[in-house]
Symmetry: C2
Subunit: 359 residues, 2 copies
Amino acid sequence: MKQLQVDLGHRSYPIFIGRDLLGHAEYLAPYIQSKQVMVVSNTTVAPLYLEKTLAGLQGFETSSVILPDGESYKNLHVLNQIFDELLSQRFDRRATLLALGGGVVGDMTGFAAACYQRGVSFIQIPTTLLAQVDSSVGGKTGVNHPLGKNMIGAFHQPQCVLCDTDTLNTLEERQLSAGLAEVVKYGLLGDADFIGWLENNADQLLARDPDALAYAIERSCQDKADIVAKDELEAGVRALLNLGHTFGHAIETGMGYGVCLHGEAVGMGMYLAAELSQRQGWISRSDVERTDQLLQAMNIPRRIPQDISVEQMLELMKVDKKVRDGQVRLVLLKTLGEAFLTSDYSADLMRDVLSNSYA
Amino acid sequence: MKQLQVDLGHRSYPIFIGRDLLGHAEYLAPYIQSKQVMVVSNTTVAPLYLEKTLAGLQGFETSSVILPDGESYKNLHVLNQIFDELLSQRFDRRATLLALGGGVVGDMTGFAAACYQRGVSFIQIPTTLLAQVDSSVGGKTGVNHPLGKNMIGAFHQPQCVLCDTDTLNTLEERQLSAGLAEVVKYGLLGDADFIGWLENNADQLLARDPDALAYAIERSCQDKADIVAKDELEAGVRALLNLGHTFGHAIETGMGYGVCLHGEAVGMGMYLAAELSQRQGWISRSDVERTDQLLQAMNIPRRIPQDISVEQMLELMKVDKKVRDGQVRLVLLKTLGEAFLTSDYSADLMRDVLSNSYA
């Protein structure tokens, strides 16, 4: 078992990574304040892991709420189901919420914890690779709005995170690859050595080799934790974690939430960011190809679905939290392994990249 | 014009109190970060003061959203109207929300600001006495849930608060008295001298004498600011501001949101707290009578409506943010002018007080 610390002053917390962690009380109990624990999961994950999770919470007053599965349910209306349960069970301000599931469950549970009685504790047990390498670090929580992804939310840090790699064995292949897209992201945006490791270990990762997975999760979380520690509230450098996300969110919103997986959309977005960075003269054609091949090796789609027009993409990209005074700022690549935030790119080249990047 | 500082480190902010402040850009402009300002108001206040408010925001890109008026609309569903407007107008992360209205508008606008893109700035222009002396200090924001008042929310401090006493001239008498209930609260919980001042000035306050009102607002805000500065997130002493509120919230929830005004319910709650404190032997019978008479002098109702049973009261009081391990903790009176938080009271005396305090 590996342990990694996210360093945020009095909001610091540990991430435990390894096999067979679920159901062992010793990891969670020290981080639970009172007896009340509400487990939030979804209809896919609960049948697989809820019982084991509850078995690790003996001696606590547990309750659970099972949400419908999918990005299309990540909204204020479904969020209210968590509040309904908390209130009808008389959960008080010292209660702990425990998120058991993927990124959607984590984001919604964290946001519910941020808002319930103006803030209660929460713990994350992410069960998808994407959630383990992304939403487990950084405290971003929230829900979608029909007009924009993750537009309603809060920064709220968990008490601890438990990444049990065994839970990845039940993950669909498509979900595994979507998670690997976010892993690749950490290499591209700031960890050039990791790109090489990923190229050499793509097959092991797809074969779910537990050591390879644990290493990829640990390195991704460490890379993200280093950035978040520098900029918890995303005033600066943290925006780099959005590599591929402005394009990706537009694709997700345009397709309707849940059609494209988040990681798939980010994969497309990273390819588009690489293409635009090349046209701007920052990275080489072979860098773009290397990016494309690494994504391909992880079975990640890289081209925009035909269902979205270029005009639609441009319009949807304007709804982004990095927009300032109407200007869409993008995370682009200075080199392969170094991203930067800029609004200094050509609208014509952008249009050209989009037009030539369809599936 | 009086100016008062709420001292919260880098979240400190000023409160401006006086006549004819609305519509003067010099008070607001220094606290607005970018050009985008969304004014949130309601169907009662907007016809009276929206135009004047917008006139004080020339040079900014303003937009407005008008919510239905009343506590019964303080919910997640109506909150979403603010997000709809912000997103359809493409408001970005540096936008400012401006609350123009009473406590409901302030709480909802503040909560929308706390959650929109995980946090944007907001300014409060409270137009009721209750909002000026209560919700303008402390950063509590939120909405109600059918099972409990203010159960969903956030702590989010405004950039500044503007209390224009002229706006109180259009206030219904019942609303004025409800605001005075919260003013009386500051005296009872920690400012014994202020009780005497209020007894001597009840008539001037009800006659809306601007100097008396400005003094009462300033002293109330100062009393509250002193407490909030010691305990921003309500880990301790801040709970004293809840004098009368556990009883009051139960009455509000039991009657259905909007039937009793919040200040009226708090008035009843303070009377009940005084009665229970007397039965416990902490304050004297004449203290209870003095409390009752001061509330009466302000035209504040003090007795529980017949519509709620004792059992209902006891059940509803269990849904309170001060509940710990199932125990209802109450703010009671040690002396007239000194409140304390305790779970050490007799359930029998509580039942007796409730049974004998009906209208």
